[in-house]
Symmetry: C2
Subunit: 338 residues, 2 copies
Amino acid sequence: MTLTLKTKNYYIMSNFDQIVELIADDLSAIEAKLTEHTASEYTFVDMAVQHVVEGGGKRLRPILVVLSAKVCDYEGSDAHTLAAVVELIHVASLVHDDVLDEAAIRRGRETLQTKWGNKVAVLVGDYLHARVLSMLVARRSDDPAMAILADTTQAMCEGEVIHAYKSGDFDISEDEYLKIISFKTGKLIAASCTLGAHLGTTEAQQIEALTVYGQQIGTAFQIVDDLLDFTEDSDKLGKDAFGDLREGKLTFPIIYARTVCNDSEKQMLEKMLHPDTDETEAIAFVESLFQSYGVEPHCLKVAQGYADRAKAALAIFPETPARTALSELADYVVSRES
Amino acid sequence: MTLTLKTKNYYIMSNFDQIVELIADDLSAIEAKLTEHTASEYTFVDMAVQHVVEGGGKRLRPILVVLSAKVCDYEGSDAHTLAAVVELIHVASLVHDDVLDEAAIRRGRETLQTKWGNKVAVLVGDYLHARVLSMLVARRSDDPAMAILADTTQAMCEGEVIHAYKSGDFDISEDEYLKIISFKTGKLIAASCTLGAHLGTTEAQQIEALTVYGQQIGTAFQIVDDLLDFTEDSDKLGKDAFGDLREGKLTFPIIYARTVCNDSEKQMLEKMLHPDTDETEAIAFVESLFQSYGVEPHCLKVAQGYADRAKAALAIFPETPARTALSELADYVVSRES
């Protein structure tokens, strides 16, 4: 039995909290870089941008840059700049996702379009890309970060466009879906690790190991993200629960359920994803279907498989606190509740 | 009297057509670069992207890069790459503008959101930015193009965000509006000229002259763009006429009319910009107001003032076909009908 008491004076930290504590100084430096590189002399622009940049989130990608750099013996401040770059690319993609999904809440805060309308939201996303460009052009041209991030942002968009185009296709296969998420989500998470690695080493084997680690946890992360939409409440998620279902989005749990349920359930499921279907009815049907076919444990098992492969890729590195942290982070990606 | 006959066999070319003919080889090379640098291995992404990239338009910014380079004695192919970069930045901004304005038609073609929905449109804009990033990171880091374009994309977004934020402010001053358009439109047009200049010269005076030329025609261009929304029909514009008015956008002609009309007309004008107002009534009122106060000739006069200052900035260059073309282009920006 594990004793977990959360009071003001005494609590046992989760692995994630411990990781955050391990690199607390780095994370503060990254927050400072984020503010510095997104500031605008125009008050309103600055306010709208800081609303999303300061909007919390776990800073998973910055943590990955820092830990990947440390695993390769790099401790300098360029990790903070690159961490800020990947986080800004991520925030920009969230801002545009929220416009497209008409999301009202993100990370427990009102979204930009709720506060100031779609126009401001699309433009703030573009502004963040412009600032990323500024941060990148200030770098040396032989810096591998440039090409890595150019490829990454392109792949993210391709993944998103294909996902948007395929969104009405109830027959999308699990493999097709996994490929899409490896682009949409996996590329930037993998790039975070690759960038960190490049700071500390030129050894291809080490860089490749961290890239593989990132790709694997990226896929695990998205599968769990898809699952949490069905299993967690809005408060914990910091956004509306059942959002994907409401939009009729095909995500990993639905794609799996579709392949294991019987024909009449499959027809019903397709109907439930239609925008005209009553929301309460759709949620009740999907929850009961997930229960019957053990969709939640299946998704967690698949995600844990990716996390285990991620951890295995770390074996070539000496055992350091940073390697342990990366290993625990892989498990956290699966066990997290938001 | 000028004889202008447009038949299959015989016509007198406009100045703009002559300019296009003068640099026809450059323009073909630029089209090839545009296709090359936006191609995606994913069929649907490729189709959606080519729909907007090939979607015509005057290629004003590429023309400016090429002519500015030629005025500074540069004739190489890097002008084509930079011309493609600025055009892609421009197309990306149009794609996002059209999403925000819910435009159905642009350059005589269906917009992306009409064909495939908002999501694809926002993402294609992001994809184009990602491709621009790829093109830029392939350059030498001491290349001034990088910093110029990073500053430009940031300023464009700032201008757009401020414009979106100010869109409900009926009392925006002419000066404030001119500053916004110098950011939104002027920066990229000026950057096109600056980039061309840098290819051929390191002389600050020449670079500055072309930057000033670009800033001035940029403002002229936007004032005329604002005017054409009221004076040309949808066929010529390649987009819906009275689009700005329908959206209640405050543009240069409205801001000028507001300052010269009487108080009751001013109140009526404000009412006409409200989204609930009957469109036909609003158009009739604004047309009659513009007639009474000579808004069209006033706007053209202001625009011509900018064009004249642009031409004056060219005086330091020797008289070459490229300088003549730039000079005529300044007049064309004012006299164009679409």
